[in-house]
């Protein structure tokens, strides 16, 4: 009896499994996405990766918070000098949980920038910008510039005194660039004065142009991370691909120095090293 119950159950389980697997297999057969996800999840990372390596994904999380809260804000925000300030007040004081959405967007921006710098610092300290990851560093610097540009364009949107006068000065400073300055300032203002056109322009740049670029750059950034792998901490005794791990073994004791250490970095000119 017990046996038959178990077999009946397992038959049901099998059917359930098949029901779950069917759409997955369907998707995999037509797109290969499932295999891609599996590759992403089960790829190996160096055994000594640590908390420092979480700064990149923390930055990503902060960006996703900005994207999500930004979309919600855009549903209530009215990018016109006459209405912008009132709509910001309305969001903060009246809309259900509007204060939370606006507060998260406002403070998330600072957290995002701080995490960008922390992540960059860890990449720098780990020497992780070196071959073959140069390109990913450059993509990263672009992301940093984009992040700061988001801060500059978003600052104007509440259309209060703080944002207005900071932007007046910010645009004027852009105007001091040799030769191009006046054109940059003119472009940013969308005219001779800061007004409705400036606000519309900043809003468009802030919610469409730069976020689009950031999404694309993050895609490229993560592609390169998965393709090239992340660097072990340089102080690790078991750092992946590190010649100093061997060095430590071979240079332990005097005789070590004279032993041929195949990959040691000071022997790069030794013609017969390999």
């Amino acid at each position: 009896m017990a046996v038959s119950a178990r077999t009946r159950k397992s038959a049901r389980l099998q059917r359930l499994e098949a029901a779950i697997n069917y759409p997955i297999d369907w998707l995999e057969e037509r797109s290969g996405l499932v295999g891609g996800l599996r590759y992403f999840l089960f790829r190996k990372v160096p055994g000594d990766s640590n908390w420092f390596h979480t700064l990149g994904s923390a930055t990503l999380t902060a960006f996703l918070v900005q994207a999500t809260t930004g979309v919600i804000l855009a549903m209530y925000y009215k990018p016109e000098p006459k209405t912008a300030y009132a709509s910001i007040q309305h969001i903060t004081n009246d809309v259900t949980l509007g204060w939370l959405v606006r507060g998260m967007h406002k403070w998330g921006a600072s957290v995002f920038i701080i995490l960008l710098f922390f992540h960059m610092a860890r990449v720098f300290l780990f020497g992780a910008y070196k071959y073959p990851r140069e390109l990913n560093w450059i993509v990263g610097v672009l992301l940093l510039v984009m992040g700061m540009a988001e801060g500059f364009t978003g600052y104007l949107l509440p259309w209060d005194q703080t944002s207005y006068w900071a932007t007046v000065v910010g645009i004027n400073l852009n105007g001091t660039v040799p030769f191009l300055g006046p054109y940059i300032a003119q472009f940013l203002r969308g005219g001779a004065e800061i007004g409705p056109d400036t606000l519309a322009r900043f809003y468009s740049i802030h919610m469409l142009l730069i976020p689009g670029a950031i999404f694309a750059l993050i895609g490229l950034h993560l592609y390169l991370v998965v393709r090239l792998g992340v660097s072990s901490p340089p102080w690790s005794k078991e750092a992946a691909g590190a010649d100093w791990v061997e060095e430590q073994v071979t240079t332990n004791g005097r005789s070590g120095l004279t032993q041929p250490a195949a990959r040691s970095s000071w022997r790069r000119n030794g013609g017969d090293a390999e």
């Binding site: 190996k44 903060t92 939370l100 910008y129 070196k130 610097v141 209060d160 004027n172 992946a240």
Partner: protein, 289 residues
Amino acid sequence: MSAIDERRSQFKKYKEDVKDRGKPFYPYAMFHDTVMSLVVVGVIVGLASVWFYTSGENPDTCGGKDSCLLGPRYSEPADPGTTNFVPRPDWYFYFLFYLLRIFKWPDSVILGTVGIPTILLIIAFALPFLDIRSERRLSRRPVAVVAAILVVISMGELTYKGAVAKEALASEVVAAVPQWAQREGFANDPKAVAGANVFAEGGCTSCHTYLGTGGGNLGAPDLSAEGSKGKGVQGLESYVADPSKFGNTVMPKFGAFASIPAKDAQGKDLGISQLRVLAIFLDASKGPK
């Protein structure tokens, strides 16, 4: 073996090492990432809550009823007419903001606005090509470590100074007006005194200094002796109305003052615009007697 070959073989070894000794991203690294991401979201929600619950609906409740630990919800609505407001960017631009105090207009201010930021950016982009050794250990990268420490200290210092930079409050500046009138000798000219008040309230001192009061921001010159440069009331008026016509693209335009009637200390209409009295005040500023 050439340098690039060596780096290639090193990377090959890296890939092999990770394959042999690495751990799968899921669940190990993913666990750390998830914990960290939750912390990030928690911090953001925490900041938003403190900001909201310590501030009030009115922009000016701060300091009174509300502590505004993290600042007000918003400041007063934007008003291109009054500049009684200290232009201040978000904190991550403070270092640039402060750089502009170090360089003096007009000779070197461009170093602060364009020069140094551009150089920093070029170095950031070029870093992987400037530092091409494969060495990653900090103890063997003395130049990189020293450079990093210098960058962190100077950015931190500039950000800090930008944050605490003393801004003259309009009320303090207004209180200094009688003393200005005394020292500059225009106390008997009600138009010049009215102009001095517009100057004090209009936010000019967030950039300019006048007899020691004011910001000294963005390379704006001291105006205590502006009247001795021979520009005349007319010249000063058109300058302040639209400085960009005179090659000054940093200072905002104050043309809006032309349509606001000026009043004297008793509130009597002087029959001319605020822009005019401002120019009269500047013209009367021949330097302290």
